[in-house]
């Protein structure tokens, strides 16, 4: 019952007028940017990090949480109205949603996705609130070797297990790990990979990497293949409201989608794509209207959208309780915590309960705001989609570089941003996943320091990694997850999530 008390306390923090305002700004910005094709919540948080470092940590984190949820609502709007999902997790939504929009049922498609996201988000956030204290109790007993092993599991599952090609996923991860080495070693004060350049001593900024890879890389990629694609926005015709029949066909997929999304998101496996596609195929099998699938079946929108949102809330479980980011967006949220010198994990629950529980409580509020805001504002979001592509991307690049210019207006930092942009472009062109680079950069140094602490305590005996049963089990899981894709075919059907 302490959860209820903590949650009530968090609610008191979240309903403070300033925090409500931050949540509102967050969901508004998140949706607006999420609607823009090719831009996801990870980039939105990355763009805002340099701008918000002067604000109070509680408020900014609440805003980032709003962006996180809002970005997904925006992404599904884009997936339904133009058939280019902004994030891979919306791909399943685009399958039926765009067909519904073409058939003049765009309104109900948007409605079932918004209400389904609300239902799933609320249930999953309740799940988060109850699972988190339990996991925290468990995690306080973790030694450094257990954390290191846990991070190994996250490294492997994020990069290798569910990607198209484990080789390319691991390559991305190791590029991120290499970037994580740059700068002064915190334990000995020696500079690694700095090549005598003073700007590199502080290490690679996560925001510079993320903005370069996501914004610049995406703009270069879209510009280079502009002659291949033509986007068409489906106007929202007819009623926005769902009929009684629509409700009857939607509520079970919402609940089933949540059941897929939350547990899979909460496992350190990352990616909302697996639950969304699982939900899609389940609904396709269970539907009473199989003839509509492929032509715009509402179940095929309701289920995956719920799964998507539930898995996003699930991703916050390992992030808040263990400090373990399993998606690019979660990695950016972790960078947001670090900006204020906060480290998510069991200690944060003990030291700053107001902050953690305020954040969790504000997720409920963000969900309500999104439901209330999004359907009436759908006309505004459609207008955003109508911005001509040249101005859209030119504007995105101005905002993308602005963050770096405001934080560190040096030639070295801006050149790094440009170099990461080229890297992001090449990775997209040669089909390397982007998220493992960001996760590698942010988690690599943490994993290294945990390993070195473990070895320092054991006086250099590497067997400490196998003597702790928890660590040995986790390392075994990591090994299986690494070898599985080489042994089994078919896992590659689920591409690793990019956002």
């Amino acid at each position: 019952m302490e959860t209820f008390a903590a949650l009530a306390h968090g609610m008191a923090v979240a309903v403070q007028p300033m925090n409500l305002l931050y949540a509102l700004i967050g969901v508004f910005l998140g949706t607006a940017v999420g609607v823009l094709p090719g831009i996801g919540p990870a980039l939105t948080v990355a763009l805002l990090l340099p701008v918000t470092y002067k604000l109070d940590p509680g408020g900014s984190l609440i805003m980032f949480a709003g962006i996180y949820y809002g970005g997904m609502y925006g992404g599904s709007t884009t997936a339904i109205l133009i058939n280019t999902p902004g994030e891979s997790a919306s791909m399943a939504t685009a399958l039926e949603g765009n067909k519904m929009a073409k058939a003049g049922r765009g309104g109900p498609a948007l409605a079932t996705s918004a209400i389904g996201s609300f239902v799933a988000g609320t249930i999953a956030t309740i799940g988060l609130a109850f699972l988190a204290p339990w996991l925290v109790d468990f995690a306080v007993r973790f030694g450094p070797e257990d954390y290191f092993a846990l991070m190994c599991v996250a490294f492997v599952t994020v990069s290798a297990t569910f990607g198209d090609s484990p080789i390319r996923g691991l390559t991305s991860l190791f590029i991120g790990l290499t970037l994580g080495l740059v700068g002064i070693d915190k334990l000995t004060g020696q500079a690694r990979l700095a090549f005598g350049i003073p700007e590199l001593l502080d290490g690679v900024e996560v925001t510079t990497l993320a903005v370069g890879l996501f914004a610049l890389g995406e703009a270069l990629h879209v510009a280079s293949r502009r002659h291949h694609t033509e986007e068409k926005i489906e106007p929202v015709r007819g009623s926005l409201w769902m009929t009684k029949e629509d409700w009857k066909r939607s509520w079970k997929p919402w609940l089933r989608g949540t059941m897929f999304g939350f547990p899979i998101g909460a496992l350190p496996a990352g990616g909302a794509e697996i639950p969304t596609f699982l939900s899609y195929s389940t609904e396709k099998r269970l539907t009473k209207h199989p003839e509509e699938f492929g032509k715009g079946a509402i179940e095929g929108v309701a289920g995956p959208e719920a799964a998507n949102n539930a898995s996003a809330a699930g991703t916050l479980v390992p992030l808040l309780t263990l400090g373990l980011p399993t998606s690019a967006t979660a990695a950016m949220m972790l960078a947001g915590f670090q900006q204020y010198g906060l480290n998510p994990g069991p200690l944060l629950f003990a030291e700053r309960p107001d902050l953690v529980w305020g954040l969790i409580a504000s997720l409920f509020i963000a969900n309500v705001m999104l439901l209330v805001l999004n359907l009436p504002l759908v006309g505004l979001w459609v207008k955003l989609l109508a911005i001509p592509q040249p101005w859209l991307y030119a504007g995105i690049l101005v905002f993308a570089t602005m963050g770096t210019i405001a934080a560190k207006p040096s030639v070295v930092e801006l050149s790094m941003l440009a170099a990461f942009g080229v890297l992001g472009f090449l990775m997209r062109r040669f089909d390397f996943p982007i998220a493992p680079v960001v996760v590698g950069l942010i988690l690599g140094p943490i994993a290294e320091s945990q390993l070195r602490r473990a070895l320092a305590i054991s006086l250099g005996d590497p067997l400490v990694l196998l003597q702790s049963p928890m660590s040995a089990t986790l390392l075994g899981i990591a090994l299986i997850a690494l070898l599985a894709p080489f042994v089994m075919k078919g896992l590659g059907r689920f591409r690793a999530s990019e956002d």
């Binding site: 701008v51 002067k54 198209d164 090609s165 080789i167 390319r168 691991l170 390559t171 190791f174 590029i175 790990l177 290499t178 080495l181 334990l187 000995t188 020696q190 690694r192 990979l193 090549f195 610049l216 703009a219 270069l220 510009a223 280079s224 293949r225 502009r226 002659h227 291949h228 001509p388 592509q389 040249p390 101005w391 991307y393 030119a394 504007g395 690049l397 101005v398 570089t401 602005m402 210019i405 405001a406 207006p409 030639v411 801006l414 941003l417 440009a418 942009g421 080229v422 472009f425 062109r429 040669f430 089909d431 390993l451 070195r452 070895l455 320092a456 054991s458 006086l459 250099g460 894709p485």
Partner: protein
């Protein structure tokens, strides 16, 4: 370390893939070279020079894996790309860096990037775009400088405001 055996591999060697493998191997070599420069001072456990070597070994193995993929022609299909658009955006970024480096200020620097990016996406109305860019970046500058009190680099235009 081979990729999933997929459709019958085309016999053509993917040259870009070979370059990627070579770049990974070069990166591994840099890591090893750099770790040699570090002093080993740690009595127990591992010093700062261990992790770079571990990552270098990983990169070396991945270089081999990527090379095998490239030689088998196992890389995913690529669509033709328009190099002009890419160079236009990169040129805009170079101009931005140069203008900031030379003290030209935020407005001129980001306007240059806006115009080149817009051109890369097929716009030919450079004068109109320049006007839009100058107005937009001036508004952004004012908003950030006055409202959020974030310091953006100033140049001749910013001093007029």
């Amino acid at each position: 370390m081979t990729d999933l055996p997929q459709a019958p591999a085309s016999r053509r060697v993917d040259r870009a893939g070979v370059v990627i493998a070579a770049a990974l191997a070069a990166l591994a070599a840099v890591l090893v070279w750099d770790s040699r420069q570090l002093a080993t001072t740690t009595m127990y456990g591992m010093g700062p020079e261990v992790m770079p070597v571990v990552i270098a070994i990983g990169l070396g193995l991945l270089a081999i894996g990527n090379l095998v993929d490239a030689l088998r022609g196992n890389l995913p299909e690529r669509e033709s790309a328009d190099p002009k658009a890419v160079w236009l955006i990169l040129g805009g970024l170079a101009m931005l860096i140069a203008i900031i480096g030379l003290g030209g200020g935020f407005i001129l620097a980001t306007s240059a990037l806006f115009v080149t990016t817009s051109a890369a996406f097929g716009r030919r109305a450079i004068l109109i775009d320049t006007a839009i860019a100058l107005v937009m970046t001036t508004l952004i500058y004012l908003a950030f400088d006055r409202l959020l009190t974030l310091s953006l680099p100033t140049g001749p235009l910013e001093r007029l405001l």
